[in-house]
């Protein structure tokens, strides 16, 4: 009892504190918040200006008709109507469908191939670090530089390096970039070539994180290799699969190197992807409204895909 009265007597009463002391006490109590927010405030302001202001532009301009030179004109949803209409023989819908097809093809090859290679590399092999290094190597190069190189490899007649070599084996030159059969395949392979190293590394990381006891336990129960793969390895890789399919989809939907630097969308528009179309409309034809409207469509498609994937995985595996 006496102790308590003593402590009360020692503590200065509220109104006796000077303003400065009160400030100091407040600071002591909220020190972490003050520090955090004094750094975060400029970061948040910068982030909003540099990320959300352009996003606002994107949305705003997509409802206008605008060629940069004369002032923009509000046209409501006309740009979107053009995209989802039979205009120019369903041109834009075809572009969207084609982009999705490319993205799916790239993603499937990437995941199936990457998973297989990761399984092979996950064995107890000597020199596997060397092979892993080589597999990832293409991903470190600039897609643009490689695409420009590819243009020289694929040039028509024996001027192209690929034709030059094939000719020595007795194969007649092919005009690769104008070939409606080969060019889409080359486009897909180029993207897979660039991206698969990433997939392999992440699958490998996931494989190495699996608890080996799981395998031992299953083997004691008499499971064979295929069953181990089906019932242990693949389910354990689900979070990684989710990560790779989301990042891979975002990446492959935005593929632009081949159409912009090699084919200009040809042959027969077969490599005319959405991103090339955006670039072409916005900076080629100076139709900013059409360019941004397509960007918005692509953006919404990606968001829907990501949301759907997250939902799907959550439902099935409770990730």
């Amino acid at each position: 009892m006496t102790l308590k009265t003593a402590s009360v007597a020692l503590r200065p009463r509220e109104e006796e504190l000077t303003r400065l002391q009160r400030l100091a006490r407040w600071y002591r109590r909220h020190r972490e918040a003050v520090i955090a927010w004094s750094f975060l405030t400029p970061m948040v302001i910068y982030f909003i200006i540099m990320t959300f202001v352009p996003l606002g532009f994107l949305i705003g301009i997509s409802f206008t008709e605008w060629n940069i030179i004369t002032p923009p004109r509000w046209v409501g949803s006309q740009n979107f109507k053009v995209i989802f209409s039979s205009y120019k023989n369903w041109f834009y819908l075809k572009v969207i469908g084609r982009t999705v097809l490319y993205a799916v093809a790239i993603l499937v090859l990437n995941i199936v191939g990457g998973f297989f290679v990761a399984l092979v590399l996950n064995q107890d092999l000597r020199g596997k670090g060397f092979f892993r290094t080589l597999w990832y190597l293409p991903s470190v190069f600039s897609g643009a530089v490689i695409a420009l190189l590819l243009r020289i490899y694929l040039a028509p007649s024996t001027q192209g390096v690929l034709n030059m070599i094939l000719f020595k084996f007795g194969i007649q030159p092919v005009d690769w970039t104008h070939d409606p059969f080969w060019m889409p395949i080359i486009t897909v392979l180029f993207s897979v070539w660039q991206g698969i190293g990433f997939t392999v590394i992440f699958f490998l990381a996931g494989l190495q994180a699996i608890d080996l006891n799981l395998y031992d336990a299953a083997r004691i129960d008499g499971a064979n290799d295929l069953q181990l793969l089906r019932y242990i390895t693949i389910p354990q890789m689900v979070p990684m699969l989710l990560f790779i399919s989301v990042t891979g989809m975002i990446g492959s939907m935005q593929m632009w190197e081949v159409p912009k630097l090699i084919t200009a969308g040809g042959p027969n528009d077969l490599t005319y992807t959405l991103l090339y179309s955006i670039h072409n409309d916005a900076f080629g034809a100076l139709e900013m409204g059409m360019g941004t409207a397509q960007s918005l469509v692509l953006f919404v498609m990606l968001l829907v895909f990501i949301g759907w994937q997250l939902n799907q995985y959550r439902k099935q595996y409770g990730v």
Partner: protein, 296 residues
């Protein structure tokens, strides 16, 4: 059983050798082709066999502006590496170790930047740069001039708050117990001392990973510079500059004879630094990504 293992091992080696060769083939062809004469290049059956150092071609390419491009690209890489690591460390520390109101909401805001498809934003970003107020002849409303377009700052102005770096380092900070900093706090150490002296040395794998990622991203940047500073070759990053050289040096023509070694030299000059950095630091790269990026 053992025999089967052995067959699998042998098959694995065969598979890996062939596929790895295919993976590096286009690049290997270019790297070797940079050191051949034109005649030797045309003889190539599977790979060109180097027979010269091509000093003339290298000299001509360097004289045409590769030094300048290297210097500018290097400065840009150094800038972005510094910003990424610094802001990433500060942001990661704040989100991992401090408690304050609004934390989750701000973190989510930054994370939303990770799903923002960068290439799609190029058109509005271009406009934002063109309308930047009070720059390049613009008035306060951002009208009347060309803004940042065609000026070198346009290549330095974005990406100061890198969401990926903040996320990666937050995950890494989360894995280190806070007891580490308590003793330092008793001694009255400030936040920067705690971040750089106490945690810094423990966090080098993700930091090295970030250095590699931001180096590669900046070094290989092509589309944004090609849109915003076209017409100012002195500010072209190397990827763009080497393509521009193809035009100015005039070796690439669709009909005439192609000077292959010159083209290979240019590609080689643009691609050897990323390859070198990757080969030198790759162990940390995998380690850093795996250790911190994935467990969250």
């Amino acid at each position: 059983m053992r025999k089967r293992r052995r067959i699998i091992t042998i098959l694995s080696y065969i598979f890996l050798s062939i596929t790895s060769f295919i993976m590096v083939y286009p690049v290997l062809f270019m790297a070797l082709g940079a050191f051949t004469t034109q005649d030797r290049f045309l003889e190539a059956l599977i790979l060109p066999i180097p027979n010269t150092l091509n000093p003339k071609i290298f000299k001509a390419t360097f004289d045409a502006g590769v030094w300048e491009a290297y210097r500018f690209t290097f400065i840009r890489c150094a800038f972005y590496i510094t910003v990424t690591v610094l802001v990433g460390l500060i942001g990661g520390y704040i989100f991992s170790k401090l408690r304050f109101p609004g934390k989750n909401r701000v973190f989510l805001l930054f994370l939303s930047g990770m799903v923002m498809p960068g290439v799609l934003m190029l058109v509005p970003m271009y406009l934002q740069m063109a309308w930047f107020p009070l720059v390049g002849g613009n008035n306060i409303l951002g009208q009347g001039g060309h803004g940042f377009i065609g000026e070198w700052p346009v290549l330095f102005i974005y990406g100061w708050v890198p969401p990926f770096a903040i996320f990666l380092l937050k995950q890494s900070f989360d894995m280190i117990p806070s007891e580490y900093e308590d003793a330092a706090k008793m001694d009255g150490a400030g936040m920067f001392t705690i971040i750089f002296r106490i945690y810094g040395p423990l966090l080098w794998p993700p930091i090295v990973a970030l250095i590699i990622v931001s180096f590669l991203g900046t070094w290989n940047d092509y589309l944004w510079p090609s849109m915003t500073i076209s017409g100012h070759p002195e500010y072209y990053p190397i990827a763009l500059r080497t393509q521009y050289l193809a035009v100015t040096l005039g070796e690439w023509s669709p009909v005439g004879t192609t000077n292959y070694p010159a083209i290979m030299v240019r590609s080689f000059l643009a691609t050897w630094p990323p390859a070198a950095v990757y080969f030198l630091l790759q162990r940390y790269f995998v380690q850093g990504l795996v250790a911190s990026g994935l467990k969250g």
